[in-house]
Amino acid sequence: MTALTKADMAERLYEELGLNKREAKEMVEAFFDEISEALSHNEQVKLSGFGNFDLRDKRQRPGRNPKTGEEIPISARRVVTFRPGQKLKQKVETYAGTQPQ
């Protein structure tokens, strides 16, 4: 099964809501752009029913180059984490597929 893409989402907006193809494409772009924009201003994004995108500041920690074994510090950084909402967790939990991803 191939992955769901922005093109698939735009196609659904076209089919179900009657947006024209250009509007549908722009809407999907805007959706992910605005979420990225908020996150890159250190703003959490909460999509009720789906989940929250949170930001975490990590301190510098010791790391290692797995190839050479050399010790190099991993710099302090900010990362995005996703916490699925209750509704999404429940929907997914019972997935009985045979091809774990």
């Binding site: 805007a30 201003h41 994004v45 302090a76 996703f82 997914v92």
Partner: protein, 98 residues
């Protein structure tokens, strides 16, 4: 930012669709994504990231109140891996002092 703030933000930046239309579109996108994951289908958004399912093996849990053990069946949980662009944008924001 909440879902309704996201809707307002998108609506304010374009003139063709009403806020109601944008709201419905955002809901449709989110439902599509949820439905896809519920069917075990990955989601791949270039630059933003990918959503997939991670397997959790069955285990014996414990009721923290009573101490009683409970059999927990295997399950899947949603997982998000941020894409390179998003990772870099977010990390740069820290350097920029946000």
């Amino acid at each position: 930012m909440t879902k309704s703030e996201l809707v307002e933000m998108i609506a304010s930046k374009q003139s063709q669709l009403s806020a109601k239309d944008v709201e419905l579109a955002v809901k449709t996108i989110i439902d599509h994504m949820s439905q896809s994951l519920a069917e075990g289908q990955r989601i791949e958004i270039r630059g933003f990231g990918s959503f997939s399912l991670h397997y959790r093996a069955p285990r014996v849990g414990r009721n923290p109140k009573t101490g009683e053990s409970v059999d927990l069946p295997e399950k899947y949980v949603p997982h998000f891996k941020p894409g390179k662009d998003l990772r870099e944008k977010v990390n740069d924001s820290m350097k920029a002092g946000y």
